[in-house]
Every structure is written in structure tokens, then in C-alpha cells.
Amino acid sequence: MRNPLSKKIVDIQPSGIRKFFDVANEMKDAISLGVGEPDFDTPWRIREEGIFTLEKGRTFYTSNAGLKELRQEICRYLERKIHVSYDPIKETLITVGGSEAIDVGLRCMLDPGDEVLIPQPSYVSYLPCTIMADGVPVVVPLQPENEFKLTVADLEKYTTEKTKILIMPFPNNPTGSIMTKEDLRPVAEFVKEHDLYVLSDEIYSELTYKTQHVSIASLPGMRERTLVINGFSKGFAMTGWRLGYCCGPEVLIEQMTKLHQFAIMCAPTNSQYAAVEGLRNCEDEVEEMRKSYDQRRRFLMHEFARMGLECFEPFGAFYVFPSIREFGMSSEEFATRLLEEEKVAVVPGTAFGECGEGFLRISYAYSLEDLKEALGRLESFIRKLRKEQA
């Protein structure tokens, strides 16, 4: 019999630490600081709207690009938040989570051999999606000494004649790093100079602390070369609703809508109606959640300082990314021992690229009580390791 699988898919490596995840997810008595989604329930107004929509029998497809009402609200929202205006009809597409927009966007932009700059550590889907779109992923390792921000020096090393797209994964999962306007300016200049396009994954844009999120699309001359991807999962605590969107140049959105139509048809109808309510009436709830994350973030930074665990202060998403280099073991080894000996699950930095080695992703999408318990265990583990070393 013939092999049912394509060479392309078989060649994509599954995450190397899947075994660790399987163990962590099976360990019922472990405390986890390993999740990538909010601990809050979706705001009730949004859920109630979802229920109401079902009661009203709004169970049919929407137009391929998504409810017009929702696209209009999204454009108003982006105007308010990132100060870029998009046409809701021609420049906006509603997708099944931000993830679909990443996949479809890359498929619509890449020809075989085109190179994609992927800063790492970052979310795991850019690389496989690039390969499936026949592009060539080029990893750009971000430097701890730059607090994992992207710099032009990083880009210069990896940009070639074939480079077409730069992925901008900020606010960043797993490092919590953000790019300020000052950080973005030289990157934008570099992009224009080398005639690149940017796929800006801004799914954590609601969750920044100290400064407001700035989209690279808002910089001069960048709107026409940026695909802005966002969604409701993180800021609105709507992960399971699977709802995202993207805005960008009309030619691109037109083709993305075509592929989206063939592959997906449309995003879930009741999620779309619920999201309209979210954009219209949930600013306060979103802000309350953000404040709550900020408090936990401060608490973690304070505790790390007390324990003497090295960690730069991140101002985005809901992750901190402490260094464990002083213990002389790999991230995976550290995470495995922490899980086995203290029953605390964290994610090894290497899950997000090789350059995450020596770091851990700790999520603060947990109640303060959970964080306290888990940090107490982490502290006793660290003490034990330091004793072993002495």
C-alpha cells in the first residue's frame, strides 16, 4: 500500500518535549503554572449573548469573511487601540482563532523558497505553518541581554535576498517581552529598506503593563506591508470560542478570504455574535482582568527577587521567563525534576525554540493562592539544588 502521508508533514518534527507534557497533564496532584490561557471565565455578558444567540436560532453560516457587524466593531476597536483604520469590508477577515490567520496568511504570501524570519523563543506554530506553505523558516534567536526584544542587529544576521516575511510575535509568548514604539521604529525602517512584509501576531495586545501596546502597523509606511493578527482568546478570555481576526492590505485579505472560504467556510456564528457584545460592552471587564494579571506579575517578580532567581521584568502577556542557568542543567531536566520532586508543572523554555534553553516559562494565569503555593514549592526546590551544588 502507498504511504498516505506527505513528505512535508512527516518531516515536521513534533515538539521534542511532548513526553514531558504528557506526564505533566496526567499528574493529577501537581500544581501547574504551565497553561497558556486565562484563568478567568469569559465575561458573563459575552457568554449570555452566546446563549441568547443560540436561543434565537442563529445557527447558520455567516458570510465567509464574518459578520459585517463584528468586522465593523473590530475596525472601530483597532482604531481606538492601535490607531490604524481598516475597511471592515475589504481589509478584515474573521478567522477561527488567531492561529488560522497565521496559517492562511503564510499560505497566501509565500512562494516556494521564500524565507520567513521567525524570532524565537516564540509560539510554536509559525515554523510548521511556514513549511506547510512551502516557505523556508529562518529562526532569529532573540537575546536575553535585550530582554528578548527584536533588534536590527538580530535581523541583519538572518536577512537574505529571499527573505519575504518577518513574524512579529509581541507581546511575546513565552517571554512576556513587548516592543515599544522606540523599539519598533528601527525594525520598521529595516523592513521597508529590505521590502519585507510583516505578520504581526498581536493576540496578547490587551495584556501590557506600564505602556500601551503599539502595533508595528501604526508606524509610517507600515500599514500596507503588515498583516495584523489578533483575536479574543487572551484579552477577552475566550480561548474555547475559537475566534480571531486579521486586518491588512486589501489584495492579501481578498486572497485569504478565498482560502478561508474553501478551508473553513466561516468562523463559529455564535462566537461571532458573542464577540460583538464583547467589543461593545466589556472594556471594564477586560481592564479588570488586565489589572489582576498585573498584580500577579508584580508578585512573581518580587518573589523571584527574594529567592535570587534571575528574571528580567516582562511587561506583556501573562508569562515570566526566569533564567535557571545557575543550576547547570537543561530547562527540560529542571522542569522534569521540579515536576517529579515538588509536583509543580512549568514549561521548559526549549518548547519555544532552542534559544529558550536555560529558561522556564511560568504562567501567571492563576489565582494568587495557587501562585503562592507553587512558588513555595519552587523555592524549596531551588534551595535543594543550591545545597546540592555547594
Binding site: A24, M27, S32, V35, E37, D294, R298, F299, A351
Partner: protein, 167 residues
């Protein structure tokens, strides 16, 4: 009062309204302020009676203690010069009266009170409240079940169904 001080005060109040037992050091860390500053503001707000107490929200139904709570609508005749204040004072001085609010709409005062039994509450209404000068009528509603109180849902919350580790 400067803006920064006012903002810190609001943040302190919002937090301790839900977590009155938070210790000062922790509160300072969470709010990104100095501990002395937080302590100072709290002491001032206690003095100014902005902070009126540090109470505990208890679900008495889960204990062995018998308790009934009633909401009593009271219609009264306001008094010349003193409006509703005098009659409100006559009411709120009773220890079994839990809260007294002046209400807009079809009645004037809403009184909540606690008693050991229905009988005790009814006796209070018929012997103390109704005969008061100026009270025109009362309507007593007994609370049968508390679903949510002080912004807190009283029914037991479900376990989280989040997958422990996701990327």
C-alpha cells in the same frame, strides 16, 4: 489630594474590598507601591471613615446556627426639617437591624434585619417597627436562599477544566 494618591487609594480599596486580610507588605507588592505609603493611606482612610471596618462574608447556611434574614420595605411620613433621618436613626440603633437604606420608588426605607427565627423577626416588625410614629406601612420579605452576596457567588464553584499544560 493629588491624583497619584487618589489613584492609589482607589486601588487599595478595590483590592481590600475583596481581600480584607491581605497583609500590608503583600498589598504593596501587588499594587506596585511602597509598604509605608500603603500603611499610611489605610490609616488615613480608617480615620476618615472611608474604611468602615474589615468584615467577613459568611455563609451561615452552611453552619449549625439558625438565622433568618428579612428585607422590610417601610413607608413613612417624613418629618419637617429632619426628613427621613430621625426615623432612620430610630431604626438603625436596633442591633438586630443589619442595614437601613433610603430608597427611591414606591416605599421609603429598606431595612434588612437578622433574627434567630421567623417569629422573632415578625415580633420585631409588629412590636417595634410598625408602631413607630410616622411609619405608615411595612412589607416583610424573608430571604430563602442567598445565591450571591457582596459580589460573591455563594454556591460551590466548579473545578477548573483547563488542561494543566498548554503552549
Amino acid at each position: 489630594m493629588n491624583e497619584k494618591k487618589e489613584a492609589l487609594r482607589i486601588e487599595i480599596l478595590k483590592y481590600i474590598e475583596k481581600h480584607s486580610r491581605a497583609d500590608l507588605g503583600e498589598l504593596a507588592v501587588l499594587l506596585g507601591a511602597e509598604e509605608a505609603e500603603v500603611a499610611n493611606e489605610m490609616a488615613e482612610m480608617e480615620k476618615e471613615k472611608i474604611i468602615c471596618g474589615y468584615h467577613t462574608l459568611i455563609d451561615w447556611d452552611k453552619t449549625g446556627l439558625e438565622k433568618v434574614t428579612a428585607l422590610i420595605e417601610v413607608r413613612v411620613t417624613p418629618q419637617r426639617d429632619r426628613g427621613f433621618d430621625r426615623i432612620a436613626e430610630r431604626l438603625y440603633n436596633y442591633p438586630e437591624v443589619y442595614a437601613v437604606y433610603l430608597i427611591s420608588g414606591s416605599y421609603d426605607l429598606l431595612v434588612t434585619m437578622e433574627g434567630k427565627t421567623l417569629k422573632e423577626v415578625s415580633r420585631f416588625v409588629s412590636e417595634k417597627l410598625s408602631p413607630l410614629d410616622g411609619v405608615l406601612s411595612t412589607a416583610t420579605h424573608f430571604i430563602l436562599k442567598k445565591y450571591k452576596d457582596h459580589g460573591t457567588v455563594m454556591v460551590t464553584k466548579k473545578e477548573s477544566e483547563r488542561i494543566p499544560v498548554t503552549l
